[in-house]
Amino acid sequence: FPGLADVSIPQDIPVEGEITVPVGSHSPDEDYSTLDEPVKDTIMRDLKAVGKKFVHVMYPRKSSALLRDWDLWGPLVLCVSLALMLQGGSADSKDDGGPQFAEVFVIIWFGAVVITLNSKLLGGTISFFQSLCVLGYCVLPLTVAMLVCRLVLLAGMGTISFIIRLIVVGAMFAWSTLASTAFLADSQPPNRKALVVYPIFLFYFVISWMILTFTPQ
């Protein structure tokens, strides 16, 4: 290194210091490290979070737990169970039957993504996955309605059964729409609330229609 030939360090300037960093207490580390806990604890924690969100959907209050700690486990479970329960419908030909499993899946997830994009494009302040989480969790009343419809259809398929199904599906549709609107409406600009709520209404209406028109073989 030719340039460094002129640089000389005087002998009397002490150069000293410490190389080792003092080891702090382990307690902050132990709080966040979940690697060592039993698997049961990990699973139970996630299940409790999902269960708490289900309760929040059934009794919508102004709590931000649904928005803050979003997860997509609940929507996945609801979507899969709804799509499974919509199978087994009657069809004269393959083409005229009810929605297939993939169709239900695509409608729910693609519909939720489109609604989220719509609300973000209109100036909403909610994040993408938070909105997906809320829309997915609010399918819970409609899944309950599907369960009730299948049970009623076991009893019979006459007019009374249809009226019961109509009332149950209608009530759950209103519950879903109101629950999701309660969670999502605050993050929208005030003069565009109706523009954001209408696609949510359409989304749950389509799902309700699929549930109501389900006819078993």
Binding site: D96, G97, G98, L121, N191, R192, Y198, L202, T215
Partner: protein
């Protein structure tokens, strides 16, 4: 603004005036001047108010400056409030004769919210209404088993979205080509054409719901009525854009627009809604074992 200068000079001359009598004569001319000033200002405001399309066009030029790969670029297409969307829907259902839909309602702020969600609503309305109508028509038959006909939703979606996006694309390309040959006074951007087509489809939503009524006459009256309304919106929008052109080309363009619109309505009616049964009392044919067979004709 000479009067203002005089008043200011008067005020400047007496800044420390303590007696009210000196202040008042100063104030009264000021009030008179301000009253004289206001009518002039109102006139200026009126001129600006009726001509704010110029202002909005200037603003529109500055609006879409974000590059197309950012999210903000697409947000400019959703810059509408609830009342604006409702106004545009109202303008497409009640066309004002002589007023252009684009100039009156869109005013250089085309949005994609209306076209997209009106098309989505129309897709599901047609599928649901068709299913309901078929259910009611075939209700009494013993061999009928209800099916949800879910396949038709995807067919309806393909048709309507293709119509709402490809036809404006073709029309825009055609108008650009003619614009290069004949200088037209009125020209539309691609998004404005998509907007007009999207909002003009709104009338088909209540029409599709009313098509559940299983009477042929009612259905065809509805077709003609909705075609007149939405067709007139399209004609009044696009006639000024082609009227400077060769007469035959202008008429052919408007005729094609109307023909495609009618084809969409009639096609949807024919495919999604089964023909209602016509109750003609057919001749009773006595069979060998004494039972009578009554035939119904479609």
């Amino acid at each position: 603004f000479a009067e203002f200068d005089d008043a200011a000079n008067l005020l400047a001359a007496n800044p420390d005036a303590t007696t009210i009598s000196i202040d008042e004569p100063v104030e009264i001319p000021k009030n008179q001047h301000s009253r004289l000033q206001e009518p002039g200002r109102e006139e200026d405001d009126e001129l600006l108010g009726t001509d704010d399309s110029d202002k909005t066009e200037l603003l529109a030029g500055q609006k879409k400056s974000a590059p197309f790969w950012t999210f903000e670029y697409y947000q400019t297409f959703f810059d509408v409030d609830t009342y604006q969307v409702l106004d545009r829907i109202k303008g497409s259902v009640f066309p004002v004769p002589g007023k252009n839909f684009v100039r009156l309602y869109i005013r250089s702020n085309p949005d994609l919210y209306g076209p997209f969600w009106i098309c989505a609503t129309l897709v599901f309305t047609i599928a649901v209404s068709g299913n309901l109508s078929n259910f009611f028509i075939h209700l009494g038959k013993p061999t009928y088993h209800y099916v949800p006909e879910f396949r038709k939703v995807s067919i309806a979606a393909t048709t309507i979205y293709a119509y709402a996006w490809l036809v404006p694309l073709a029309l825009w390309g055609f108008l650009m080509w003619r614009n290069s040959k004949v200088m037209n006074i009125v020209s539309y951007s691609f998004l404005e054409i998509v907007c007009v087509y999207g909002y003009s489809l709104f009338i088909y939503i209540p029409t599709a719901i009313l098509w559940i009524i299983p009477q042929k006459v009612v259905r065809w009256v509805l077709v003609v009525f909705s075609l007149c309304l939405s067709g007139s919106v399209l004609v009044m929008t696009f006639w000024p854009a082609v009227r400077d052109d060769n007469r035959r080309i202008a008429v052919a363009t408007v005729a094609t627009i109307l023909l495609l619109h009618a084809l969409l309505a009639v096609g949807c009616l024919a495919y999604f809604f089964d023909a209602p049964e016509v109750d003609i009392p057919a001749p009773i044919i006595p069979a060998h074992n004494g039972t009578t067979v009554i035939t119904k004709s479609h």
